[in-house]
Symmetry: C2
């Protein structure tokens, strides 16, 4: 069965959530065969029609009276998300955030392998985070020349981020997971996925403000 | 000048970014008076027409030939985002992620005050993170009864998150900043802002996959 590659950005942004719920179903019962859009809808708290529309992108699953084949759908979504292949990930910055990311067990399960960590502070260079020995920032360029790096994580303050990003790009890194609170300037063939925590906190503050006094219909909605 | 309160969710989600760029302008030059939609458009890499549409929500700013009053717009957006008032924030979980969040200097500047941190590990209870002494999870309920908590941050694994969220909700917390990788079940008047890092990494992986081979027009776009 061919999977359509022309999937809208809105659907793509929802795929990781489908992947998570399908994965949970398989974790709870490895023998689970199928799920109806109605059941999935109740679990995920989105409408069944939204689910049918989204999953229609993956071709002939949701047959009336059958529902979706859980394992097949999970595998296909995983393929679309690129999770069936290994990605080598490095982390720049060995502060608390960098260490938190290095320690996430679930990343490894999904094919993201942390291969190196860099810091400019000589006091931490040579110390270990899990199995990884922290390297000096000065060695980043050489490391990039000698090793395949698929994703570079920026867990450093924004003042230093642009310069490091330039070095990454010069050495062929095509994907940056950016936690620094700025919009990096990179060539168009380099992907930047931003995690701007303070913007997330501001949205929460906005919603909290709106909620004071008025009932908010979709406050619980996941986003 | 009255500010319209009926602003679309899409605009709201973009406000923190406007707020950041306007704040940067003021940081660089506290005397800066105005900026044209064209200049702002070049800085933010969105179209000038998008900016005009978004900022029209804030009433009579963008006069032709004048542009926007930077300080006024910054202040108004701050008000809408609820940043002119103080929010007491607690953090559940004193691991690397919790500590990273506790140490973010910029949160304090925007009116988010970290007032307490909790952990279930007796070995860390009583130790300090910055100025804050880590309290025992068993004391969370009593703390919530005695102190105003506006936002509770969940920086704990997903297995423990639902139970803690229930306790928060029972004790009147109306906003949860959730880093645990699950969708919390909370009453409709409780706001949950999710930061699902592994879903962010999956979107990056998806884009990286798509990029192999084909030129991707909007790869650099901030999101």
């Amino acid at each position: 069965m061919m999977v359509e590659k022309n999937i809208s950005q809105a659907v793509i942004r929802r795929l990781p959530r489908y992947y998570r719920y399908l994965g949970q179903l398989l974790e709870e019962d490895v023998e689970v065969e199928r799920i109806s859009s109605h059941e999935l809808s109740q679990m995920m708290k989105v409408t069944a029609s939204q689910i049918r529309q989204d999953l229609n992108n993956f071709g002939g699953f949701g047959q009336q009276g059958y529902g979706y084949n859980v394992k097949f759908l999970y595998t296909e979504i995983g393929k679309i998300l690129g999770l069936e292949q290994n990605h080598n990930v490095i982390i720049i910055g060995s502060g608390h955030l960098g260490q938190a990311l290095a320690n996430y067990k679930s990343f490894g399960k999904r094919g993201f392998t942390f291969t190196a960590m860099f810091d400019k502070d000589p006091k931490v260079v040579g110390t270990k985070v899990g199995d990884i020995t922290i390297k000096a920032m000065d060695d980043l360029g050489a490391f990039l020349k000698e090793n395949q790096v698929d994703i570079a994580t920026l867990a450093i303050p924004k003042d230093a981020a642009e310069e490091v990003a330039d070095l990454l790009v010069e050495n062929g890194v095509k994907a940056i997971w950016n936690f620094a609170h700025l919009d990096l300037e990179v060539p168009r063939d380099v992907i930047v996925e931003n995690v701007h925590l303070s913007e997330s906190l501001m949205r929460l503050s906005y919603d909290l403000n709106q909620n004071k006094g008025e009932y908010k219909k979709d406050a619980y909605k996941s986003r």
